[in-house]
């Protein structure tokens, strides 16, 4: 590696007694893509927030081209040529793409904004990444993936020499991912440097020049993408050998009763003629790219939207076409949404309340809620699902993503759900917790006869956890192969066929 153009030495960050970073030293050279990996809570985001001037380290120093620098605010970092495209979409929805890209950096003549110049400049940065996005369109009209790309264009528009990309591909389809990769490679070829954070280990192996592993706020190792493997990366991130699920697929599922039968379900503009059957004790994966219509189908089955055609049968009983979520829940069919923070948890309420919210009728006494019974039941599920918590009275937000997801699973088991539709249940959850949840789901289907529709964008995960896989593409079911006989390549081929 050449001389580092940017370097962090012995960075620590403490919040009270919590040490988010414990003396991390890391550098980046010109024309280098440096991947940072680690479980959630490993300190990646904290470190990147320090690099881009959002927060200040408790101790340690930053060096740009060998000279010590201090960033009091993001603008200082931008002046030093460092810019971040954060994971969360952080754009102004009612402004145009062009203005979002140039926000705070409008071209001016005198006191007035020179719109032509501003737009032209925005367009140049946008074209670098994706030529198909209309710069005059309002941002809220764009898909999530396009917004993500605009956000990256915005970071680039600050004339950054060091880009921080935090989970840039989380919402991207494979085609957009390719666009992004070729942009990142071009940026590198021109001498730009990239800190690249991702949970997708495959793309890191493909893209990165160097991999740094963080664990519990400490730098635990550096890997060479040319020689390392995914298993090695996972082992380093988790600090132990992670028990891979690899659960044996079920045999004789076809003979078991069908609990959920979807027949010819259609919603114009979203999905078309979707049919599949879910057997008791089965995990039915649903794979496909973003925009394949998987979430739309799930929401329609659950009665959040109305179908234009087709039927849904639950335990042999045809569900009313105008069913509500409440009807479905009463019959044992539940939906765990994709956006856990936005649609899953009640952030202001306690763990116990988050779990019991749909089951409160069971704990209503004559005058008082039977709190003791409620807590006993909550404790039971905490134990069964191995949720790590202090007290059930703590706010749900005190838990990690994985444990929050388990609370939501507990919520529905407590409500005696028999059929679960889970939408990206492990997104944003660290590797160890992910495997744990996968194994847990397997246990529930095996021992308790639950049936699960498991929607996931990660082919690897779908292959690991499912018995059969519904492959969707652009609103249509392309096939339902058995997981044991499928590979990532075969699934992709099927989707594109």
């Amino acid at each position: 590696m050449t001389h580092p153009i940017f370097e962090a030495r012995d960075i620590t960050k403490s919040y009270g007694v919590v040490h988010a970073l414990k003396g991390v030293s890391i550098g980046i050279g010109a024309g280098e893509i440096h991947a940072i990996i680690g479980e959630n809570g490993a300190g990646k985001s904290t470190l990147m927030s320090i690099f881009c001037g959002k927060i200040r380290p408790s101790s340690g120093t930053l060096h740009r081209d060998g000279e010590q620098v201090a960033f009091a605010r993001p603008l200082d970092a931008q002046r030093a040529g460092i810019s971040i495209a954060p994971q969360e979409i952080n754009l102004v929805p009612d402004l145009t793409v062009a203005e979002n890209i140039m926000l705070g950096a409008h071209e001016t003549t005198g006191p007035a904004i020179d719109w032509r110049k501003t737009r032209r400049k925005a367009l140049r940065h946008l074209l670098e990444i994706d030529e198909s996005i209309d710069p005059a369109s309002k941002v809220h009209r764009l898909s999530k993936a396009q917004q993500q790309l605009v956000q990256i264009a915005r970071a680039a528009a600050t004339l950054a020499r060091i880009l921080i990309l935090d989970e840039p591909t989380a919402a991207l389809t494979s085609r957009e991912t390719e666009k992004l990769f070729s942009y990142v490679r071009r940026f590198r070829a021109e001498g730009g440097s990239v800190f690249y954070i991702s949970h997708r280990l495959g793309e890191i192996l493909e893209l990165a020049d160097r991999i740094t592993v963080l664990r519990d706020g400490a730098h635990v190792g550096e890997l060479d993408p040319k020689t390392t493997t995914k298993d090695e990366m996972v082992r380093q991130m988790a600090g132990r050998v992670v028990g891979r699920g690899n659960p044996a697929p079920h045999v004789g599922l076809e003979a078991r009763e069908v609990v959920l039968k979807v027949d010819g379900l259609t919603r114009h503009g979203e999905f078309d003629d979707v049919s599949f059957e879910l057997h008791r004790g089965e995990i039915l994966g649903v794979s496909g790219l973003i925009g394949a219509g998987r979430t739309e189908v799930a929401k329609c089955i659950f009665g959040l939207t109305q179908a234009d055609g087709g039927t849904v049968e639950l335990f042999g009983e045809r569900l009313d076409a105008r069913r509500s979520p409440l009807d479905c829940i009463a019959k044992g069919l539940v939906y765990l949404p994709e956006e856990r923070k936005q649609e899953g948890i009640f952030p202001l309420l306690s763990i116990a309340e988050n779990m019991t919210m749909p089951s409160l009728d069971r704990f209503g006494g004559l005058l008082r809620m039977r709190t003791a019974d409620m807590l006993r039941e909550v404790d039971g599920f905490v134990e069964r699902l191995r949720i790590k918590l202090g007290s059930p009275a703590d706010p749900i937000t005190s838990l990690s993503g994985g444990n929050q997801q388990k609370v939501i699973i507990g919520r529905w088991l407590m409500r005696n759900a028999r059929v679960l539709i889970m939408d990206e249940p492990t997104r944003g959850i660290d590797v160890a917790a992910k495997f744990e949840i996968q194994n847990e789901l397997r246990r529930f289907t095996d021992r308790e006869g639950l049936s699960i529709v498991f929607i996931s964008s990660e082919l690897e995960e779908v292959l690991d956890v499912s018995d059969r896989i519904v492959v969707m593409h652009e609103g249509k079911v392309k096939g339902i192969p058995a997981a044991a006989a499928a590979t990532q390549e075969s699934l992709l081929q099927l989707a594109m066929s």
Binding site: A330, E343, G344, F346, L348, A372
Partner: protein, 330 residues
């Protein structure tokens, strides 16, 4: 904290030992309770008559009227809404109640529940637009505020309806065990709402809807029903305050309820209720209403010009918000 209400009492005794003071400080209404006590101590030292029985009953009664309105407002704020029409709804209900009594000869005892029913219906109008049609509560209730206030003037042409009679007057003027009846009504209403919010499914659903509406839909809560009912209750409590005030004044005055809107919102905010929904408490609101009235009363007793009163109230709200900010940043 709100999420502690139902579960913490039976749980984690170790936490309790962590310090009563710390736990008290954690409670969102703690600041206002301290402020209220401090203010009362100062006023009782600085004036001769603050603690007099007469003055106390005046203060308590005033707090009861605006407090009743604030109770309903708190429910609306908890589901993430706001009701600007409560003051006007109180006024219109008081007028309609007075007319029931004087023009239609309804028995005085039946007037109160009928008026409350009328207020409930006014609230349901808001609820229909906000919950049913998903319109912005600020805009909807801004419109109904004008409509209710306008109807009051249409009906009364600006003249009070009086007299309302001795029998009816008992609700506003009477006392039980030397506690004014409006104060009793306020306390009982507060107690019922505390029970409702902490011990019933409907109450917990209010917190869920206000805290995360999308999630509430997905767990099968009848979100629209909850919102609809809450707006209805806000109208009902406003009507209750209005008719009690009419009884107290022995007149259905068109001006009843003027000033109650800001008082109600201020009381709720002082008590730690969040305008974003999902956070707040009835106890806080009740204390907030007390604090507001004691402040007003104090300025009078200290011979401070009435014009300064609003400046002081505004300052207190800002201080309350700052205190809350520092507590959160802990």
């Amino acid at each position: 904290m709100t999420h502690d209400i139902t579960v913490s009492s039976a749980h984690a005794p170790a936490k309790k030992r962590a310090g009563l003071l710390a736990r008290f400080w954690q409670w969102e209404a703690s600041g206002i309770l301290v402020a209220l006590i401090a203010l009362m101590v100062v006023l009782s030292l600085a004036t001769d008559n603050f603690l007099s029985t007469y003055n106390m009953s005046v203060v308590a009664r005033q707090a009861a009227f605006v407090g009743l309105v604030a109770l309903g407002q708190t429910l609306v704020l908890l589901v993430g809404g706001i009701d600007l029409s409560v003051g006007a709804a109180a006024g219109l209900s008081a007028i309609v109640g007075s007319l029931l009594l004087t023009m239609f000869g309804v028995h005085p005892y039946a007037v109160i529940p009928l008026t409350m029913g009328f207020g409930l219906c006014l609230g349901f109008i808001n609820g229909f637009f906000v919950a049913g049609l998903r319109l912005n509560p600020f805009i909807v209730t801004l419109a109904t505020w004008e409509i209710f206030a306008g109807l009051t003037m249409v009906i009364t042409k600006g003249y009070p309806i009086r007299p309302l009679g001795e029998t009816f007057g008992v609700f506003g003027k009477g006392e039980i065990l030397s506690v004014p009846i409006p104060v009793l009504v306020f306390l009982v209403s507060g107690a019922v709402l505390i029970w409702l919010l902490t011990q019933t499914r409907f109450g917990r659903n209010i917190f869920a809807v206000g805290g995360n509406r999308d999630a509430a839909v997905l767990v099968g809560i009848r979100v629209k029903f909850v919102e609809f009912l809450v707006f209805g209750l806000a109208g009902m409590f406003a009507a209750l305050a209005g008719i009690l005030f009419a009884s107290r004044m022995d007149a259905g005055q068109p001006s009843v309820g003027e000033g109650w809107l800001m008082g109600a919102i201020t009381a709720a905010i002082l008590g730690g209720t969040s305008l974003r929904g999902g956070q707040g408490s009835i106890v806080g609101t009740m204390l907030g209403a007390m604090l507001l009235t004691v402040l007003a009363n104090g300025t009078v007793l200290l011979n401070v010009s009435g014009f300064w009163q609003r400046v002081i109230v505004g300052g207190v709200v800002l201080i309350a918000v700052l205190v809350d900010l520092f507590r959160r940043r802990g």
